[in-house]
Amino acid sequence: MDILVEFLKTTGFWSMTWGNAIMILIGIAFITLAIRKDYEPLLLVPIGMGAIIGNIPVIEGMSLSVYDDAKWILEGDEIRYQSGSVLSYLYFGVRQGIYPPLIFLGIGAMTDFSTMLSNPKLILLGAAAQIGVFLTFFGALFLGFDFAEAGAIGIIGGADGPTAIFLSAKLAPHLLGAIAIAAYSYMALVPVIQPPIMKLLTTREERLIRMKAPRIVGKREKMIFPVVAFLISTLVAPGAIVLLGMLFFGNLLKESLVTERLANTARTSLIDIITILLGVSVGASTQASTFLQSDSLLIFALGALSFAIATAGGVLFAKLMNLFLTEKINPLIGAAGVSAVPDSARVVQMVGQQEDPHNFLLMHAMAPNVAGVVGSAIAAGVLWSVLAPAI
């Protein structure tokens, strides 16, 4: 009987807390949303499963959680090396900011910058949407977070999961789980969050504006762009070297036409492998004891605000641009300035077609969308370089 009781004490049921149960339910909810509603399934399934994995209570003394790192232990006169858990090694890529740049490599190899190259003024919409990042940073400071934490929270407004993970790993690793979950949740909820804001800030006449078809972009332009854009961005904001270096490197692999095999690997197998590792390990880092804090709720609230401000910033800036432009742009495409590629561009297309089924805004919206990726990486680089010395 004693043996049975001892065994029961080693099971997960014995040490399960309400927090663990809630997090397991959240994990199941993520998986359900991904399967039933098709909300970012490539991310929510690994993160949801990771949350379930990370919230099974572990036996004391066994290295199982993502936080069980390798360490040296002093036992009497002996110093012993204790290896870390398998999950801690997978999580190493998150903690050290290794996975996000590799994901950017894949994104670069997938991204076609043609629409942006054909209409360069739309790049400004990608910059305007970054107002969400900086206003949320300011709001987080106001709510009592320190500079580094506020910077990491603010980047949720960039609507870019890898960038949010990268910056929070550098500035506020203790908030990484909450920030990553908030960023990916809001990215998944782009079709729900953005349309009401877009409709509220535009008139029917504005939503009906049709834009001129983009011009055909030459091969040379596409090849030169990644190199020069990288030079411009990182000479001004060197903090963005890692993310933008990989993004533009991936794009060069695609556009150079001589490295098709490498580009293909980057945009298929490599990005898939990294997404799996990133998703599961980030999910597993959301242990109830670290995740279910009042700070996490604040982060979620600030994240939603950040997303809303970013969307509004892009739309309002497009309206501002229209005051000076002879060829008007449809202000809905400003909402695609957040870098949730290609979801926010799809939302623009959807909202535009609700007013005029023959208005095709998707191509135009891709320009601010990819500019948003660059803009959020620059914002992350700026925040990192300014705030890292303060840690």
Binding site: L124, A229, I378, L383
Partner: protein
């Protein structure tokens, strides 16, 4: 009152400065990229006079591969139609 409190608080003041500077830097970089992109076609037009753009070897190869695929698809379609027509003719013959 709240505004005065905010101005007095060094954290808020510094935070405000960082936010504004950050936004300005993002805009500056993207404006520079935008100007570069706008100028690029004109610069390339000048370059093209000296160094005309040639069809890339790899893209040419892929083009010919595509043509082969295309040819095969056309041949398959022709074969399918001929097969159908011959069968129909055969069936008609028997029924007639």
């Amino acid at each position: 009152m709240i505004l005065l409190f905010m101005i007095d608080d060094p954290t808020i003041t510094r935070g405000f400065a960082i936010a504004i500077t950050g936004l300005v830097i993002v805009f500056a970089v993207l404006i520079l990229i935008s100007l570069f992109i706008a100028a690029l076609p004109h610069a390339l037009a000048v370059v093209a006079r000296v160094l005309p753009e040639i069809e890339h070897g790899h893209s040419a190869a892929s083009h010919s591969e595509q043509s082969n695929d295309h040819d095969e698809a056309v041949m398959a379609a022709i074969g399918f139609v001929m097969h159908n027509e011959l069968q129909k003719a055969g069936t008609d013959g028997h029924s007639g």
